[in-house]
């Protein structure tokens, strides 16, 4: 199992889980705010639509659906 945090909340997921799957599984549906402030979450699941962008370990615009969870990861929705 892998332990990570999203917006300060700890979550534990199976090895190999993507950040997008981890967040959705923990009930996080709003990954980012659109340019006009609408809530958005993953759409395509395959790294094309860019809707699942989050900040990971301080780096912005990371694709949650293409990033596997790692121990100690700090994820921030935006």
């Amino acid at each position: 199992m892998v332990k990570l945090r999203c917006d300060g909340v700890e979550m534990v997921v199976a090895e190999g889980t993507s950040v997008a799957a981890a967040l959705l599984g923990a009930g996080v549906s709003r990954f980012r705010s659109s340019v006009t402030g609408e809530p958005r979450g993953p759409l395509c699941g395959m790294g094309v639509c860019m809707e699942c962008r989050v900040t990971i370990d301080g780096v912005g615009h990371r694709l949650a659906c293409q990033t596997p969870c790692r121990a100690g990861m700090e994820v921030m929705t935006t």
């Binding site: 958005r40 790294g47 094309v48």
Partner: protein, 384 residues
């Protein structure tokens, strides 16, 4: 890094190409932006292994391709190839309806990909909607994962699906096997979502269904951007290839969905041919009618292009509404005036939508192909 053959995309077509090319050449590389090989259909569990002797570069996004050929990647710098096989697959076609941008609405393949990457859906109420054989596969996979599939809304009428299946009896066992896994799940044909709000899907015809997730995809759009950047000729939106899968650019081959949406069997055949042709081996000729028949059977009902209300967002990156696009005549003008298609996805999602809704052709492709860190671009410019 220099290779005889570089294959872009490690889905079924790319893996079949790698297997074929690996028989002849000891200098083959396979590049993919995902964590594991298999593409979307075999995500994480490929039925063809990466052949021994083929170098596999996962999580490697190619942001530029240049004649000769040079591929620029974020994680591995420049890669050179004498021959290139493009097996870049397809993405889903999304169509805007009120509520389609809300969290909880996914692509059909999109939700399946998320489940394969660890999203638990046990007990979740999910509707699968849109068009194509993928809907049944997605619904069956979701059910296996424990989801309550509350219904499948297929926009094509039953009167077109049945004759299609009858013409391809080889596909029937697969269709029946999927249907058997979906006993008790309603399959509404000639039906599509018209609205999503607060967990409630409204279907054409008026039925409303409460869901946790709506998984909705209206078919597949070929990923032709890499081919276009190299100058390969397109034919009606697909990469034009000869009987050896070679494109209009000598030394560039293309296999799988970018040459025509045909699914797994076609991708494997294309890949085998491309890998063989790129390494000077004999190739088997292709068949071909399936691609046309599939497109005809699941041809989109034009009423799907009128679901968006004036305020419905079309370009999700820049929040450009349907009404904001109406004054413009073509893609470029709309881009300049509204920023439609100019966000991080580079029009990958809204380009095909404006093609359906407004008849626009969003075919211009520029480097970088995907968003790339400025420091990497600078490195490329100053340390070529």
């Amino acid at each position: 890094m220099k290779f005889d053959v570089v294959i872009l995309g490690a889905g079924p077509a790319g893996l079949a190409a790698a297997r074929a090319a690996g028989r002849r050449s000891a200098s083959v590389a396979l590049v993919d932006d995902n964590v594991t090989a298999g593409g979307q259909i075999w995500r994480g569990a490929p039925r063809i292994a990466v052949p021994a002797g083929v170098r596999f570069f996962p999580q490697t996004r190619v942001f530029d391709l240049r004649p000769g050929f040079t591929l620029l990647t974020e994680s591995h710098g420049a890669m050179e190839a004498s021959r290139l096989i493009l097996a870049t697959g397809a993405r889903e076609l999304f169509l805007p309806f009120p509520g389609w941008t809300a969290p909880g609405v996914f692509g059909a393949g999109g939700l399946q990909a998320l489940v394969k990457s660890g999203l638990p859906v046990a007990g979740k109420r999910v509707m699968v909607a849109g068009s194509g054989p993928l809907l049944l596969a997605v619904a069956a996979a979701l059910r296996t994962a424990g989801a309550r599939v509350v219904g499948i809304a297929e926009q094509a009428p039953l009167g077109r699906i049945v004759p299609f299946l009858a013409k391809y009896p080889a596909k029937l066992p697969q269709a029946f096997a999927l249907r058997a896994r979906l006993v008790g799940v309603p399959y509404w044909t000639g039906t599509w979502p018209v609205r999503f709000a607060e967990g409630m899907v409204t279907l054409s015809g008026g039925r409303t269904v409460s869901v946790d997730y709506l998984a909705c995809g209206f078919g597949l759009v070929p990923n032709t951007e890499a081919a276009q950047l190299l100058g390969c000729r397109l034919d009606d939106g697909f990469v034009a290839v000869d009987s050896r899968q070679e494109t209009s650019v000598a030394g560039v081959y293309c296999a799988g969905e970018p040459t025509g949406i045909g699914g797994l069997d076609k991708a494997l055949e294309d890949g085998e041919r491309a890998g063989a042709a790129a390494t000077g081996q004999a190739v088997n000729p292709s068949r071909g009618a399936f691609v046309r028949d599939l497109a005809a059977a699941f041809h989109l009902d034009p009423r799907l292009f009128d679901l968006a209300e004036p305020s419905t967002v079309v370009c999700r990156c820049e929040d450009v509404s349907c009404a904001a696009l109406r004054p413009y005549r073509e893609w470029r003008e709309a881009k300049l005036m509204t920023r439609c298609g100019m966000g991080p996805c580079q029009g990958r999602i809204c380009g095909p939508i404006t093609n359906c809704l407004l008849g626009w052709s969003a075919e211009s492709v520029r480097r970088p192909l995907v968003p790339v860190a400025a420091e990497i671009l600078l490195k490329d410019v100053f340390e070529p």
